[in-house]
Symmetry: C2
Subunit: 359 residues, 2 copies
């Protein structure tokens, strides 16, 4: 069962291991006849170069780390697919890690990835300062930030135009006649959440509407806690340092208030799912009782009753772009953050004019 190595190939072909290496990598001229002998030996012996040994010799492992919050989040899932497709095409492997937005898990993952000598890293950082991340950057490992930014990290970032998407969404609601529009968001540390907040604000201000702080509600964005299936199945999440109420709690309070908003803009798909559960529980009909618009499209969104109006993000392309950018960095090319990718307002039927003229 002893694995066969380039030495075996060399012997079989009657050449040195240097020559074997060179024909495999095409890294210097080899007489056609010699090359053929080596090639034959390779196929006869079914030789596969050992990437670990090569990695040690070249200090390049062809492995890329992909660190995201949770692969079960359809947003990241689509992104991950974009990344993997792009990387595998370049014969790079992608190692993925989940952080659950937990800085401790983030540190641990990065530690392991660093030890593994990854050639590059694509990360959707938690947003909390992360020593391992900065260390990786200092060590010269190419890094691209995905969707969000990490404090203190100098690295190109691939994301969407969050403020603009939020702005459009809220403007759409305002045009429909809404005056009191809530914003449901997740962790403050996550840059997308605050950028979307800014878009919400700008739209209100431009319309001369008051920006009431109590219209901004925060909830744990990690899963729709009222959803039976994942909840009962989910592993206990890390949550270190993060304590936020569930969507259900938060909306229960907001939407039973006498001066409740007539519309809500939601920052993520998981929060949206939670909100939908909350509506059901509170007996609120959408859009009759409350209009809803959210970030992230979902493949079931058009089938929903009502079909969901959303701000669509180019998820797959986000991952693809991040991977392409990383490849450029690995090749040593100079890169800069590309302009934010455009989002798209998809109007379906979860928003309607407010019944009582806008709350």
């Amino acid at each position: 069962m002893t694995r066969i190595s380039s030495k075996d190939v060399a012997e079989h072909a009657g050449v040195s291991i240097a020559t074997v290496s060179h024909v495999i990598n095409g890294t210097r001229y080899v007489r056609a006849e010699t090359r053929q002998r080596v090639l034959d030996a390779i196929s006869v012996l079914d030789y596969r170069p050992n990437a670990v040994a090569r990695g040690l010799a070249t200090s390049s492992t062809r492995e890329i780390g992909l660190v995201i919050s949770d692969i079960r989040n359809p947003f990241f899932t689509a992104v991950a697919r974009g990344v993997e497709d792009e990387l595998i095409a370049q014969r790079y492997n992608t190692i993925f890690c989940n952080t659950d937005e937990d800085p401790v898990r983030e540190e641990g993952n990065l530690h392991l990835l660093a030890a593994q000598q990854i050639d590059g890293l694509i990360i959707a950082p938690t947003g909390e300062p992360c020593e391992s991340l900065l260390a990786l950057a200092r060590a010269g490992v190419p890094i691209v930030q995905l969707d969000r930014t990490s404090p203190g990290l100098e690295a190109p970032m691939v994301g969407v135009n969050n403020a603009e998407g939020a702005y459009q969404a809220v403007r759409y609601l305002i045009a429909l006649g809404h005056r009191r529009i809530a914003y449901l968001m997740g962790f403050e540390a996550v840059s997308t959440q605050t950028e979307r907040l800014a878009g919400w604000q700008r739209a209100l201000q431009e319309a001369g509407l008051p920006v009431e702080e109590n219209l901004v509600v925060r909830a744990d964005p990690r899963f729709a806690e009222s959803a039976p299936a994942p909840a009962s199945e989910a592993a206990p999440a890390g949550m270190a340092g993060h304590v936020l109420p569930s969507v259900r709690e938060v909306l229960g309070e907001l939407l039973t208030h006498p001066a409740r908003p007539s519309a809500i803009f939601i920052a993520t798909n998981q929060l949206t799912l939670g909100a939908l559960y909350a509506f059901e529980e509170l007996g609120l009909r959408c859009p009759e009782d409350i209009s809803l618009i959210s970030f992230d499209d979902q493949d079931w969104a058009p089938l929903f009753r009502p079909p969901l109006t959303v701000v669509r993000q180019p998820t797959y392309r986000l991952g693809q772009t991040a991977a392409q950018l990383l490849m450029q960095m690995i090749r040593g090319e100079a890169v800069a953050s590309p302009p934010p990718l455009a989002v798209e307002l998809i109007v379906r039927a979860s928003c309607s004019p407010p019944v009582n003229g806008g709350g």
Copy 2:
């Protein structure tokens, strides 16, 4: 920027590199005072052992391959999370690859993983014979089959009781009064699909109902083609060797037939989504015009109108179990396929008695 190695640590601590190695790995006794010196040196220099070098020396990389069909499929996504949670806890990294049910992609992925000297493999095989997979097995790499089996491969398999789940689903429909119950499935090569077929058959036979071959319809299970979002975003799929019509085509034919079935049992979540789109297009109401029951729960299923009746699979646990089994194999323990995990019939509201007495 020259990376620091165990040699640097040794020098700094005034010991040999062997001692450094031993304190790091706790692999032989080191005097407390010496150990402390080494530890200090490590932290002063911020030394991180190079896993690649270690991998070369020990021929153990602490990397596991996870090969699935498509990470965008929520089934695999949950499984992958179970795998990653389990592996990361053991300080193993997981490299994931998508095959798109394409044997060519499968081969390519495995080839790369083999070169990378993975310590183990968890795979949901396409079901087509796969040379690289057998080669990996021959080379003694621990493998566990996930959800399905690959022809000719001797490896423990972690899956659910597919036939039983299908049987229960169809029995439920029969109890409701249905007589003509269709089965919508994906690729024949995928073992789960045929096992579920067997369950469907058994339920019909036991009830004395005819098993009509034209009630079994096959469609491309890879994505809901009528769903606008993923379709427009999706990368061109591989599809080598697989040609199957879309759900829309297949159901268009089946359900406009005069003697159309009054109920349908669907083998996967992606096919279900496609069916839901098809219903919409055909103007069929569920469950009034047709009852639907499917494999795989989804977090939005309870919110759907009608809430979907499903056979739930323990997805997360499937991944977790596979990973645990793999760890045992890596430790050299003897293992066998565990009994299939139980599925659960979740009755919601997408099935009702047939209007005309069961077609």
